[in-house]
């Protein structure tokens, strides 16, 4: 199965013109599989952390969204222990006009703006709701502990 032109183009652009704080490199043996890193956004509890993710482009891409998962442990109400991400554009709000880059930027933005009202990790969400500062502290600890 040859790689669609679109994926090639995206990959080229990701390499040639990476988004700030984000890297995405395809595996050599599977060009649909990317190793991704995202820097924790400044001003967030995740600042200075480097989070690893994996990203896979399914067969239907771009008609179907990519599959993305955190590999680095992270304390975030919308990301569960397995690294799964609750983000609408990765689900029903996906549009073929979105790209790897935009997806990753969205995830980066998600780190800045956790949304405990639409939780994936319910305990973390509860923590954020009840005591946001303490929750942010834990997030920061985890970042230092795991994302370095």
């Amino acid at each position: 199965m040859s790689l669609p032109k679109r994926i090639i183009k995206e990959t080229e652009r990701l390499v040639a013109d990476p988004a700030p704080g984000i890297t995405a490199l395809p595996h050599e043996d599977n060009l649909r599989y990317f190793d991704v890193t995202i820097e924790g956004p400044g001003g967030s509890p995740f600042q200075h952390g480097i989070f690893k993710l994996e990203l896979f482009l399914p067969e239907e891409y771009p008609m179907a969204p990519p599959k993305v998962r955190f590999l680095t442990k992270i304390y975030h109400p919308n990301i569960d222990k397995l690294g799964r991400i609750c983000l609408d554009i990765l689900k029903d709000k996906w549009s073929p006009a979105l790209q790897i880059r935009t997806v990753l930027l969205s995830i980066q933005a998600l780190l800045s703006a956790p949304n405990p009202d639409d939780p994936l990790a319910t305990d973390v969400a509860k923590h954020y709701k009840e005591n946001e500062a303490d929750a942010q502290r834990v997030s920061q600890e985890w970042t230092q502990k795991y994302a370095n």
Binding site: K9, P62, S95, A97
Partner: protein, 1166 residues
């Protein structure tokens, strides 16, 4: 012993020989006649090697065996045989029969009508001299040639009974006991009772059973006692033949294995038997074997046609109904018995049907034919085996040979055929081959001998020579006498003394235009033929020349009554007074029947080729049909011009149908006797039972021409219809055609092909594009033709739809096939196939109404950009300027000069940008459609990929159509906006897209190209029309539903010079023939037809004389669909059509094995 070399002196009926041999020595007695070696052998030997001895070969073996018995030979001496031997005739031809002498009291065969008295009188006379005739002197005593001279039959002189041969019947049996009935060498009478009442043939089996015994007993007593007994015979079951002595007393019977045919011959009164008792015991006992020698004399009545008294009509009807009438039965029995007689007396044909001549050439030829027939089978098998490529190669090779074989005769003198200049009222210049054709046609019309000098013997007849009768002692042998031939038709049993010429009685013939293809991959050669119109092979021109050059002859004027070809009046017309004009005036007008689409072309061409005023043409079609009589009759006296009426098959058929209705008057067109009727594209009436065919047959004409490219479309019987029209007897009789051509052909008898060859030789002129003229130049030089098959892949959606239909059709078929019901549900299956073939073209051709929206669009879906901008501007002012609308306005305003933008979905440059109307975001057409499809699949609302605005409806999308910026064109198109928007309200399909893509490419290369697009489905033509409209191609349409004016307008419009590209879309069936479209040099075949011939004929609308550019043909085929299999069948079919050698092509049956085989291909697994 030289016995082995001698011919059999005696001929035994086969079954008898077997019996005798098994009996051992006794049988030897009878063969002992061979002791005459000393005399006969000497004379015979020289003959034997060359003689037509093949037939004699089996008997000799008998002699060998017998000759071993010395003892048995002795008795010979008393046998009468020695006499016979003495005379040997120089004719090797005759030898088999010759030797048998008959001491022969000529016993008149007792025909049923004879009384016993008569019989006895005659039989009493010892010599065979029975009839005085001019020949009589030579014949009775034994001159071998007492056969009436060839002229005899044509002169009123009576034909004397003529010696044909001799039979020894060793197993006749006595039915009396006692002495004095008969002695050896006594003449006997062979008697048949009158067929008054029937009596069961009492003791056939008994007779056979007894014969062995009888022989052994050989009692001497039987001879003297006459035992007359009369048995009555029934025609069918009773075949008793009595043996009477010279006193008229019955003493024995012929064995049943002989009597069945002897009885029939006697009943028919065409043969006379003169018998001699060769050997018998002195005293007869019931059941004792008698050895009887019969000399066979043929009577004049044998040469009368047994069918003459019956009217053709009766016979035809009966035959066609497939029932054997009484007449038929009589004929058949006559044939059987005559053939049996010939077999028994070993009379061999010397030429003609059934003749296996010694000449090497002949043999080779025949073997070739046989091989053809055989190979065919092989080819078929291979095809069934699904071994596509190999089989095709085979078929190709074969077919070339085969075609050559079939047409060899028809063409073999063609190159040297003379030329004829047309009359001076004809204004055009003819090419050489056209002048040849003119000569040929003219000579056929004027009734002169065929320009080719066809003197072949009628293909069904065989030539025989009368054998010499063994001469009695002391008569000189006349070595100088000529062999006297006679002729027999082994298929009908008819005999004649006249040379049966393969004669044409019809004035007219078939003009066939064959074009060999070797370019096209899957259709390759063949048979198809194109009858091309004026610019093609010039058949219109040739016929025009004929019309000018061959006016009514005196003969035409003289004979007031129509000659043989006038049709029988229908009963309801018979009592109507014939219109007076008919009897007064000789026919002078020509009627041309052509497909509707060609009527105008004919008219134009006739005018163009004529000096003004010399030809008056009337297109008798549509509303003004009533003028027919006026056109022909009115100005006849003062007007010398030639009248030509041009009409269509449809008109003819409907006029005919009207005439058929009781009470209505017969249409004038059938009342008028035409000087000449020309059928253009004559294969239009190939089915003999179609209305069209019947109408055509009903025309009365002195001269008839059938012009066609495909005299044989896919069955040999296709040819029949033409022969019927031409009234080419006897082939115009369906029963004849069927029994002498179709059936033998099915039995793979090479004779069938030979017959076809002979038929074609006399009436068919064949021209093909690559034939060469007398100077060796191709008669037609055409530019090359490049054929490309473009294999396309379905879109996933189309694939899904197609597969669904295919699977259900396949299931249906397999279910029916398993139950063996395929042939009964043939129509249903064909309907399924039809659906599949449509599904390949465009899903909406098979989808039901809810999906029909794609088809509903009228107009070209264009949306004016300025309109859009205005609307957005208005919306903007109304809503106080939303940024969105500003954006939209920008988008629209910038469309014209915007650099190619990237599609947000595929990230590629948008080839066909689509605008989403709500937000004005753009995507590629394919991408956005795929997106919408995905959404639908997931039951999600479809929204703009860029801004998520929704929902989006596919048909609301606007396609941005940019005109190519071609500097040359831009000026002329200045008025047209460079960018237009078009609603996406049309669902395309893979094939349509491919067509559009190709047309765009063409336009880029050649801004004024002319292309012709063929499809067999008018519904698909509708879609093509829509798509071309959307793409803004100038297009014309030509299909069968259009009236003739519209058709002409379409063709003329297409031909008109213009600097814009033009596309003509044509329905394959309506436009496949005749049209001249040489202005185009690109052909697109949107679908494939079962028969490659039809496709090629279509292509040759473009690739024909007048074409000066290379012709590019593109076939669109969707991979892995039924189309591939149709191609497969095409290959099969082409093979069939080419020479029609197919054994399995059952005539007329739509569900023959061939068809079912084809269906299996359709639904087979790859």
């Amino acid at each position: 012993m030289s016995l082995s070399r001698t011919r059999p002196c005696l001929t035994l009926t086969q079954p008898t020989m077997d019996d005798e041999l098994s009996d051992g020595p006794p049988s030897g007695l009878f063969f002992a006649g061979s002791d005459d070696e000393d005399e006969d052998v000497a004379m015979e030997r020289p003959e034997s090697p060359t003689g037509p001895t093949s037939g004699a070969s089996s008997p000799p073996s008998l002699f060998i065996q017998d000759s071993d018995d010395d003892e048995p030979m002795e008795p010979i001496e008393h046998s009468p045989l020695p006499h016979k031997r003495k005379i040997i005739i120089p004719d090797d031809v005759l030898d088999e029969a010759l030797e048998l002498p008959s001491a022969g009291p000529s016993s008149r065969h007792s025909s049923s009508s004879r009384t016993l008295d008569e019989v006895s009188k005659k039989s009493a006379s010892p010599t065979p001299k029975s009839k005085p005739s001019k020949k009589s002197d030579s014949r009775p005593p034994a001159k071998k040639r007492r056969i009436s001279p060839p002229a005899a039959s044509s002169t009123p002189l009576p034909f004397p009974p003529t010696y044909l041969g001799e039979i020894l019947i060793p197993n006749a049996w006595s039915n009396v006991s006692g002495k004095g009935y008969i002695k050896c060498n006594d003449p006997i009478q062979i008697h048949r009772d009158e067929q008054v009442e029937s009596k069961p043939g009492p003791s056939k089996s008994a007779a056979n059973g007894k014969k062995g015994d009888g022989k052994k007993q050989m009692s001497l007593t039987a001879m003297l006692k006459p035992l007359p007994s009369k048995a009555k015979k029934k025609v069918k079951t009773d075949s008793i033949v009595r043996i009477l002595n010279s006193r008229g007393t019955e003493f024995g019977r012929l064995p049943t294995d002989v009597s069945w045919w002897v009885a029939k011959l006697l009943d028919l009164g065409i043969v006379e038997f003169r018998g001699t008792m060769t050997d018998c015991p002195d005293k007869l006992t019931t059941g004792v074997s008698l050895f009887v020698t019969l000399q066979v004399y043929i009577l004049a009545s044998a040469f009368k046609s047994p069918t003459l008294n019956q009217t053709d009509d009766t016979r035809n009807t009966m035959f066609n109904e497939g029932q054997e009438t009484l007449d038929e039965k009589t004929l058949r029995e006559r044939k059987e018995s005559v053939l049996k007689l010939f077999e028994v007396i070993e009379l061999k044909p010397q030429a003609g049907a059934n003749f296996r001549g010694p000449q090497a050439e002949e043999k080779v030829h025949e073997e070739a034919l046989k091989r053809l027939a055989k190979r065919k089978v092989k080819t078929v098998t291979e095809i069934v085996g699904d071994n596509e490529e190999i089989e095709v190669d085979d078929a190709e090779d074969l077919s070339k040979n085969e075609i050559d074989t079939i047409y060899k005769r028809a063409q073999h003198n063609d190159r040297t055929m003379g030329l004829m200049e047309p009359a001076d009222t004809f204004t055009l210049t003819l090419r050489g081959y056209q002048k040849q054709a003119l000569l040929w046609m003219h000579s056929l019309e004027s009734g002169k001998m065929d320009a080719r000098e066809a003197t072949s013997m009628h293909p069904l007849w065989s030539q025989y020579f009368f054998p010499e009768k063994p001469v009695m002692d002391g008569n000189a042998i006349d070595l100088t006498a000529d062999d006297k031939p006679f002729y027999m038709n082994p298929y009908s049993g008819e005999m004649s003394l006249d040379f049966p010429k393969a004669e044409r009685k019809c004035k007219g013939g078939i003009l066939a235009y064959f074009f060999l293809y070797d370019v096209l991959v899957h259709t390759n050669l063949a048979f198809h033929a194109l009858s091309s119109a004026e610019m093609g092979m010039g058949k219109t021109i040739m016929l025009s020349a004929l019309i000018h050059t061959s006016p009514p002859s005196e003969e035409d004027a003289d004979s007031t009554a129509a000659p043989g070809k006038s049709r029988q009046l229908k009963l309801n017309n018979a009592f109507r007074p014939a219109p007076q004009r008919k009897t007064k005036k000789s026919p002078s007008a020509t009627l041309i029947v052509a497909p509707t689409s060609l009527l105008a072309q004919w008219s134009e061409e006739l005018q163009r080729s004529s000096k003004p005023g010399t030809v008056k043409t009337l297109v008798w079609h549509g509303q003004n049909r009533l003028d027919l009589e006026a056109a022909i009759e009115d100005d006849r006296d003062d007007d010398k011009s030639i009248k030509v009426i041009i009409t269509s098959y449809g008109v003819l058929a409907s006029e005919h149908a009207k005439s058929e209705k009781a009470g209505s008057s017969r249409s004038l067109v059938f009342e008028i006797e035409w000087l000449r009727v020309v059928l253009d594209e004559a294969h239009s009436c190939k089915s003999r039972s179609s209305k069209t065919a019947k109408a055509v047959y009903a025309l009365q004409a002195r001269r008839r021409w059938a012009v066609t490219g495909t005299p044989i479309v896919n069955k040999l019987e296709d040819l029949y219809s033409l022969l019927k029209f031409l009234d080419f007897r006897p082939w115009s009789d369906f029963a004849f055609f069927r029994s002498f051509i179709t059936l033998p052909f099915l039995a793979r008898d090479p004779k069938a092909i030979e017959i076809v060859q002979v038929i074609l030789e006399s009436i068919l002129l064949r021209r093909e594009k690559n034939m060469r003229d007398t100077d060796g130049n191709k008669i037609v030089e055409l530019p090359t033709k490049e054929v490309v098959v473009e294999n396309l892949e379905f879109s996933p959606l189309e694939r899904k739809i197609y597969d669904q239909i295919y699977i259900s059709a396949k299931r249906d078929f397999e279910r029916l096939n398993a139950k063996g019901l395929v042939s009964r549900n043939y129509t249903h299956i064909l309907a399924m196939l039809m659906r599949l073939r449509r599904a390949v073209l465009h899903p909406s051709l098979v989808l039901t109404a809810d999906d029909e929206r794609a088809l509903s669009s009228d107009g070209d879906g264009a949306v004016d950009v300025n309109d859009m901008i205005r609307r957005f501007a208005e919306a903007e002012s109304a809503s106080e300027g939303s940024s969105k609308n500003t954006f939209a306005e920008d988008v629209l305003a910038n469309l014209a000069d915007a650099e190619a933008e990237e599609c947000p979905i595929c990230l590629d440059v948008m080839e066909t940008p689509m605008i989403i109307p709500g937000c004005m975001h753009q995507c590629c057409k394919d991408c956005i459609l795929a997106h919408l499809a995905t959404c639908e699949e997931r039951h999600e609302e479809s929204r703009c990929p860029t801004c998520s605005q929704g929902p989006i409806i596919a048909s609301d999308l606007l396609e941005v159509v940019r005109r190519k910026k071609n500097p040359e064109i831009s000026s002329s198109q200045a008025s047209q906006p460079e960018v237009t928007l078009r609603r996406n309200d049309f669902m395309s399909s893979t094939k349509l897209q491919a067509l559009v893509k190709n047309l765009h490419r063409l336009r880029d290369q050649d801004p004024c190209f002319r292309a012709v697009v063929f499809s067999q489905f008018t519904s698909f033509l509708d879609l093509i029309e829509v798509v071309l409209k959307r793409e803004r191609f100038e297009q014309y349409r030509f299909d069968g539903s259009m009236d003739i004016k519209k058709k002409n307008a379409a063709v003329n419009g297409f031909r008109e010079p213009s600097r814009k590209p033009k596309v003509l879309i044509i329905s394959l069936k309506a436009g496949g023939v005749g049209l001249n479209l040489t202005t185009a040099n690109h052909v697109f075949m949107m679908d494939c037809w079962w028969n490659a011939a039809t496709e090629n004929q279509a292509i040759d609308r473009v690739h024909r004389i007048g074409q000066d550019k290379t012709v590019y043909v593109k076939h669109f085929i969707i991979a892995n669909t039924i189309e591939g299999r149709i191609l497969q069948i095409q290959k099969r079919k082409t093979a069939i059509v080419k020479e029609a050698f197919r054994g399995t092509q059952a005539p007329g049956a739509s569900t023959d094995p061939e068809s079912i085989e084809n269906l299996k291909i359709m639904f087979g697994d790859d």
